[in-house]
């Protein structure tokens, strides 16, 4: 029952007996507006931008069927408020339809891989310059996927994402003149990101031939008093022969105090860093580097945050560091 129906029942306008006739399926319209003012210091060049931080608009819902089955769907779009592609700012995010029951859940459509899911909330700078997607490989949403998750047994579950050869990421990885491969992403996950049942979240995930890369992620995060302490290891290798294999590490800490959150993160990788990824000018081939981010979130209620952040990037082959700092505002609806 949605809120209007509930209100009408409560007020006696609708009798409960008439509800099956209604069977109105509520569509949840939801979204997030998140905008920051950010200053980038790229090798000494300063520039300031009003930056869209993954604002979005979505439509979702689910319907209970017989036998503990339910169908669910989601159509979500990014709203690139500061997009450079003119006024065409509506770009696809997760969009899928699925079926859930005692067997687990299946979703088909455009979706994050289970490897991407497996990071949980170990990255407190998600969508900011410190986002692991700027250093690690595998933080991917894929156009054509089928994903299965087992039910949770003893806080433990498995997931698998199948990526067919005709998905654009596979075609791009293969090149125009070659046949593309199917890809597979698998994950084993212990605990939950709300730390409701156990104080530990742990995940091991592996991508095989997804967007031309094999990737291993190992994630661990624990709740210690008011602290969340996390770590992550990644290893990636391009499927193309002779390419370099490289490692990366992440450490993060989040401290909750009343309606404030203090965050710090360190990332290092022997490859995968490029200045372009954090707003810097020219593309530079990926190289070794490390990054430190600190941030502060202040909650103005359940759905609204103001936040500040600072990130420093140090690339081994460049003498000068680069950095970015910003002040942002986000609202979920």
């Amino acid at each position: 029952m949605n809120e209007l129906t509930r209100a009408l029942v409560a007020s006696g306008i609708l009798s409960v007996a008439s509800l099956p006739v209604l069977a109105a399926e509520p569509v949840s319209v939801y979204g997030k507006v998140n905008v920051a003012i950010q200053t980038n210091d790229t090798q000494g060049d300063l520039n300031t931008e009003i930056k869209n931080i993954n604002s979005r608009l979505g439509f979702k819902g689910s319907v209970d069927l017989m036998d503990n089955l339910e169908t669910f769907y989601k159509i979500e779009y990014a709203v690139n408020t500061s997009g450079e592609d003119g006024a065409r700012t509506f770009t696809a995010r997760n969009q899928y339809v699925g079926l859930a029951g005692e067997f687990g859940s299946v979703a088909i459509g455009r979706r994050d891989t289970v490897l991407k899911d497996s990071q949980g909330i170990v990255d407190p700078f998600d969508d900011l310059p410190g986002d692991i997607e700027n250093f690690f490989t595998g933080d991917q949403r894929i156009a054509q996927t089928a994903t299965y998750y087992t039910p949770t047994y003893n806080n433990f579950r498995l997931g698998i994402t199948y990526v067919p050869e005709s998905s654009i990421e596979q075609k791009n990885a293969a090149g125009a003149n070659n046949d593309a491969d199917d890809g597979m992403s698998v994950a084993a996950i212990y605990g939950d990101t709300g730390f409701n049942n156990v104080p530990v979240y742990a995940a091991v995930a592996y991508n095989s031939k997804v967007a031309g890369k094999d990737v291993l992620w190992v994630t661990l995060q624990g709740k210690v008093g008011d602290f969340l302490l996390g770590g992550m290891y990644q290893n990636q290798e391009n499927n193309a022969s002779g390419s370099k294999r490289y490692d990366g590490y992440l450490l993060s800490a989040i401290y909750h105090y009343e309606n404030m959150k203090f965050k710090v993160q360190y990332v290092t990788a022997d490859g995968g860093f490029s200045l372009q990824k954090f707003g810097g000018g020219n593309s530079i081939a990926t190289q070794d580097g490390e990054s430190i981010s600190v941030g502060f979130d202040y909650s103005l209620g359940e759905s609204t945050n103001v936040y500040a952040y600072y990130g420093n990037y140090s690339l081994d082959e460049l003498a000068d560091d680069s950095s970015a700092w910003g002040l942002g505002f986000s609202h979920n609806f």
Binding site: N2, L22, P26, F90, A92, I108, P164, S167
Partner: protein
């Protein structure tokens, strides 16, 4: 916080119109459909795995009474091409505004022609790999249209769609080098849902629509737990090439469906005399073609179904057949 929207107008009309304090004059209906299949195809001797979105969509529609004899209606619908290579996958579908009186309704905007609408539910593989439009011309949604539908008189209705000459899909008349406007007309008997009458029939004619002249006659009948349908079509180019009207082809479609419990078993045959482009020995040729399709739907709820289908294409001048098969989920909201 989600904004929940009741979509069932029955609720609004039956229960709420008597409530003076709650004005639903601007009833807004958010609706959509997510239909995705895991599909295997063998086309031109090339096997391909794909996650295929089948006309998934998101729309807003509504109507408003202006006075006792006049009401306004509108629809803004977009396709959500979930599987697309580009994330710019929000593509216009029917988008129009109209007025309804006792003399019928008239609407203007982007819309299907009345000839396209005349197929009703005869095409059992609508939006799948055996969609009627794969072999027949005339399944047009055009950007600049005005459509009139008469009221229902003894189960008969007539309709017409005018397509403005400045519509980008209108082809230049070679003799004048100007674009002509097009006209699509129809007379229908019964209702496409076969609710009021056990028979639906339609005769439609396109003149200079998207470069084609088309005659289409359609009939569908319900006999106990079965429906049978047939379409005859004659199509030709609107304008002569080298002094001769080309692509004169006859087409036929037969379909049947058998309803038992939550299952629908479906089959379809379609034939076109020529005009289907294929590659033979590196050259593009046009050929006669036919399809055989078999499918089964498993209805989970009014909103949801699972389905499976198989389609085979035969071509007169091509030795190899093409095949498509898939399993999918559809959820309507």
């Amino acid at each position: 916080m989600y904004l929940s929207i009741i979509k069932t107008k029955l609720v609004i009309v039956t229960f709420l119109s008597s409530l003076p304090l709650m004005s639903f004059a601007k009833a807004l209906d958010v609706y959509g459909r997510v239909n995705v299949a895991v599909q295997y195809s063998d086309v031109d001797n090339k096997a391909l795995n794909k996650i295929n979105s089948n006309a998934s969509r998101l729309g807003v529609k509504g109507h408003q009474d202006i006075d006792d004899t006049l009401s306004l209606f509108y629809q803004v619908e977009y396709g959500v091409n979930i599987d697309a290579d580009s994330t710019n996958n929000f593509i216009a579908r029917n988008q129009f505004v109209g007025l309804k009186t006792k003399f019928g309704s008239i609407s203007a905007g982007r819309n299907d022609t009345v000839l396209k609408r005349s197929q009703g539910n005869i095409d059992q593989f609508n939006n799948l790999s055996a969609d009627l439009r794969r072999l027949f011309k005339g399944d047009n949604r055009l950007a600049q249209t005005a459509t009139y539908w008469s009221p229902n008189l003894n189960n008969f209705r007539i309709g017409a769609t005018y397509i403005a000459e400045s519509d980008a899909m209108q082809i230049r008349n070679p003799s004048t080098n100007n674009r002509d406007s097009g006209l699509s007309t129809v007379i229908t008997y019964g209702d496409v849902e076969l609710q009021k009458l056990p028979v639906y029939a339609a005769i439609a004619y396109d003149s200079k629509v998207n470069g084609n002249d088309i005659f289409r006659a359609s009939i569908q009948a319900k006999i106990e737990h079965m429906t049978f349908g047939a379409i005859y079509q004659y199509q030709q180019d609107s304008y002569a090439t080298n002094g001769i009207i080309q692509n004169k082809n006859n087409g036929l479609l037969f379909s049947g469906a058998y309803y038992v419990d939550n299952l629908i078993f479906k089959m379809q045959y379609q034939y076109i005399q020529g005009g289907i482009e294929k590659v033979l020995n590196g050259n593009i040729i046009t050929t006669e073609a036919e399809t055989y399709s078999f499918g089964v739907d498993y209805k989970l709820a009014n909103t949801s179904k699972l389905y499976a289908f198989y389609t085979k294409y035969n071509y007169k001048f091509i030795p190899e057949n093409d095949t498509y098969m898939g399993v999918g989920i559809e959820h309507k909201f």
